[in-house]
């Protein structure tokens, strides 16, 4: 166990990563020679204009998409396809409508070969961690959007990944629920000791959660930029430093 802990720590290295898509006979370059080291246990936010390649980058990290050139190295192992040390949380909860909430949460672990009983036990644990212990036997249809998203998060946590990849996880939620979920996510991130890569449109979310923010360039020839968020946690959204970081990020997009 100790060995595994020290060897696999959820460290990600991107080396000269490039990716293009063919659209209507033309080649669209989305990522160009991207180099980045994501530290073990950190929370990295990725922001950028729509179409700047945030989702593409995350899907490459997840192993759902292959890069044209360059590589992703996780814990000194080059990535080929999906892997057990990673879990993905999508913008939609992606729950199986024909399974109960508990079965959905246990799904990932079961698929990975966990015993049903063990998977259920752990699923129950994470379900109560996201505050939905009472809904174990409900069907996804009976949940609100925020609750469903929480079930998706519990499912990802149940496989106890070293790396959690999130693509606008709260993008579809109302403002109030979103704030609550951001706080919950921070607590989970601290308790579970997991490396987190969070794609978001929401600059405030990035400042609230991230240790560092990767700003993808609006203009495809520009260079990505890293902004370190040096604020104590839990962060106060109204505090001067917080507001300043938010302003700095806005300015990156030519906004005020």
């Amino acid at each position: 166990m100790g060995d595994v802990e020290t060897f696999r720590k959820g460290e990600i290295a991107l080396r000269d990563l490039s990716k293009s898509f063919q659209i209507g006979g033309r080649s669209l370059r989305v990522l160009r020679n991207l180099n980045l080291d994501i530290r073990s246990g950190e929370c990295l936010a990725i922001v950028g204009a729509s179409g700047s390649g945030k989702t593409t980058l995350l899907r490459i990290l997840a192993g759902l998409e292959a890069a044209d050139a360059g590589k992703v190295v996780i814990d000194d192992q080059p990535v080929r396809g999906v892997g057990n040390e990673r879990a993905v949380i999508f913008q939609e909860p992606r729950l199986l409508p024909w399974q109960t909430v508990l079965e959905n949460v246990a799904f990932g672990l079961e698929v990975r070969g966990g015993h049903a009983r063990h998977a259920n036990e752990r699923a129950r644990h994470y379900l109560s961690l996201v505050g939905l212990a009472d809904f174990a036997d409900a069907y996804p249809k009976q949940l609100s959007g925020g609750m469903a998203q929480r079930v998706g998060i519990a499912r990802a946590l149940t496989v106890q990944p070293e790396i959690l990849l999130l693509d606008e996880p709260f993008g579809a939620l109302d403002a109030m629920t979103k704030l609550t979920m951001q706080e919950e996510l921070e607590r989970i991130w601290r308790d579970e000791n997991v490396t987190m890569v969070l794609v978001t449109h929401d600059l405030e979310e990035a400042v609230y959660l991230a240790d560092r923010v990767l700003v993808l360039p609006k203009n495809r020839d520009g260079n990505p930029k890293i902004i370190e968020i040096d604020l104590a946690r839990p962060r106060d959204r109204s505090e001067a430093g917080f507001v300043q970081y938010r302003k700095d990020l806005l300015r990156e997009f030519g906004l005020h």
Partner: protein, 281 residues
Amino acid sequence: MSLQDVDRSILANGGSDGVKAEEYLQRAGARLRHWLSRYGLLAAFLVFWQAASSGGWINSAVFPPIDAILSSMWRGVFGGALLDDIAISLQRSGLAFVAAVLVAIPLGLFMGQVRPIEQALDPILQLFRQTSALALYPVFILLLGLGEASKVFVIFWATLFPLLLNTISGVKEVDSKLIEMARVYGASRPTVFRRVVLPGAIPSIFVGLRLSATTALLLLIASEMIGANKGVGFQVMNAQYNFQIPLMFAAIFILAGLGLIANYALVFAQRRLCRWSDVSI
């Protein structure tokens, strides 16, 4: 016994328990209203038929009163004459339906997942589907003779396509995002099939099953009207020929009943299998 009687008898037995009785009465009333809103018109239609026929408003030689039809059905079923017909009809449509299920569902599940095969077979499937099975019946008779084989085959043929096409589209319409989610957790192809594709396709498969059951009955009757000497469909024609109009209607009612039973059985099975979604009849 009217509802008032029920009320009084409960009050008499329950004594002080008037609240309970009232609750019971309310529930009985609600159930009655529900029943009336659902079956009221049907009941009214049957009552009207009975009155119109026995009152002579309509030609009772063509529309015999309901009680005459029911007594003819009673004699037919319990006297055994219609029983044989029902048995042979059930055998024909049942065999064909089971065969269609055994062929269409596995084939559809396979075709829905393998895009090139589906694309190659789709035009010919559409052609077969659009060609009325009844139009092909003479061909089947030429090939298989006028006996049981051609009858079962024409029903099988007609029931195969709705089920096959619905199974294929059920598989194809399974949310690809769910499949991707399963892949992220490392699910193998068989696991994705078992846990995502198959359950996702089941509602559509049931749509196909219900369509096929209806089609099976339709083709059963048609095939029994051509060159048969047994079967409920044959009895409809035969009774009309012999001017046994109540018997003719009895056979028609039995066919309608078989259709209803088949549909309810499938809805029931669907409810059991798909508790997670709302099933409407």
